[in-house]
């Protein structure tokens, strides 16, 4: 099941040229860019691991792409996303976030029902990939 999260996630995968163009747009707006990655596909997993510190004062997308390439190399089977942070007063928040790499095979989610007292049933979802410990979730399933 293909995870749709952030911008452009209903479109076909962005090519590197398209990613560069998006980064250039963010830089033109004066936003700082950051690269994050994770192997936990749960939609409420808000805190992905940071790949290095956010990049301020960059002028060209090639610098960000360098980090994306390095992250892809180090985590070939993780989800990787690019964030653009707007430090302008009033915003001070993420303005862009899009996935630039995903695992080859995404097994999707299981609906977990747990029975409580009486007839109460709690529902939750659990990624099939999460059955394995972090770091082995996608590399082993391929």
């Amino acid at each position: 099941m293909r995870i749709t999260q952030g911008q452009f996630s209903f479109l076909p995968e962005l090519t590197d040229a398209e990613i560069l163009a998006q980064i250039d747009y963010a830089l033109e707006q004066g936003w700082a860019l950051a690269v994050e990655h994770t192997d936990d596909p749960h939609p409420k997993n808000y805190y992905w691991s940071m790949w290095g510190t956010p990049m301020f004062d960059l002028r060209d997308a090639a610098g960000v792409m360098m980090e994306v390439t390095a992250c892809r190399k180090a985590h070939p089977a993780d989800y990787i996303k690019i964030l653009a942070f707007d430090s302008n007063k009033g915003f001070e928040s993420i303005r862009m976030a899009f996935i630039v790499q995903r695992p080859e095979y995404e097994p999707g989610f299981e609906l977990v029902r747990s029975e409580g007292p009486g007839r109460v049933i709690h529902y939750s979802i659990r990624g099939y990939a999460n059955a394995r410990p972090p770091g082995e979730r996608y590399t082993a399933s391929r």
Binding site: G52, D57, L58, R59, D60, A61, A62, G63, M66
Partner: protein, 302 residues
């Protein structure tokens, strides 16, 4: 040979034409080169090389227009010369030229020295160097006094690590970044001898000659004109005397010494005018540096 035969054989028209003059006009490069001639005094070998590079890039874009495939030429450079010969200024102009010819995407120069690249403890250097490289991407990275990166007397020096990262990026991101190393000639030579990898990746070595006395005077005139000052007749000859004497003295730093001399002359002029503040001052007086402002310099008493 086979390649040539194929080219001729498959009907690729060898008589296809491209208008170099139009490309030249389109890039506005003539204006930049003319400005270079106007603003920079002397530096003939430097200007010649910039023209050559401009011609190379122009022909390269003509080739691209006809679909002739080639790796982009490597344009990493090394500027050697004594202090004050205009290395930093030329680096900025070079960025302008390269940008107009679309070799680099952004017209910006990031100037760094050893402290910006080399860290203080293990593991500090790589992120620091990468950070600088990322900031310079798309433009020109100017490393001033680059020979300090390599300290042979300390074998645990982290400079070597910075050099290795630099080399890798110079090779991998050749179309994203132009690296210009700068420093004194003899020390750069030592640096390249101990880092042959660096030497082999630098395509252009440009030597900045020292200025002659007349050139230094022309530089003084240009500096004065940009700051809206002028020499009166006495001051002009005083300045020539000053330059002749200053050149013989230790720690002479070419154009930089001239700039300092002018700054001190401005100081003395301001004091002179302030001392007679009871009288009204004319615009001419506010713009004119007199012989007296220059002659009191320490240079003349030695």
């Amino acid at each position: 040979m086979t390649l040539l035969m194929d080219k001729a054989g498959d009907g690729a028209a060898l008589d296809q034409q491209v208008d170099l003059a139009a490309l030249y006009a389109e890039s506005n490069i003539a204006e930049t080169l003319a400005q270079l001639d106007r603003d920079l005094v002397g530096l003939v070998p430097v200007k010649t090389r910039i023209r050559e590079i401009a011609a190379l890039l122009l022909v390269e874009s003509a080739r691209r227009e006809l679909g002739i495939q080639a790796e982009p030429p490597s344009l990493h450079m090394c500027f050697t010369g004594n202090p004050g010969t205009g290395k930093t200024t030329v680096a900025r102009r070079m960025a302008d030229v390269l940008h107009r010819l679309k070799y680099i995407r952004r017209n910006h120069v990031v100037t760094v020295s050893r402290d910006d690249l080399v860290g203080q403890y293990i593991g500090h250097t790589a992120p620091k160097t990468k950070e600088v490289l990322k900031k310079a991407m798309g433009g020109v990275l100017f490393i001033d006094e680059a020979y300090y990166l390599y300290r042979p007397e300390n074998e645990r020096d982290y400079g070597q690590e910075a050099i290795e990262i630099l080399l890798q990026v110079m090779e991998d991101n050749r179309d994203d970044l132009v690296v210009i190393l700068a420093g004194y000639k003899d020390r750069m030579d030592t640096f390249f001898r101990s880092n042959p990898g660096m030497a082999s990746r630098i395509a252009h070595n440009i030597d900045f000659p020292d200025y002659g006395a007349d050139e230094l005077y022309d530089i003084a005139e240009i500096m004065m004109a940009t700051m809206h000052y002028r020499f009166d007749d006495g001051a002009a000859s005083a300045m020539r005397d000053y330059i002749a004497r200053r050149m013989q003295q230790p720690r002479f730093a070419n154009a930089r010494s001239i700039r300092n001399a002018i700054d001190r002359a401005r100081l003395r002029m301001a004091n002179r005018l302030f001392a007679q503040r009871d009288m009204p001052v004319t615009r001419l007086a506010l713009e004119t540096i007199t012989a007296e402002d220059i002659r009191v310099s320490r240079v003349f008493s030695q």
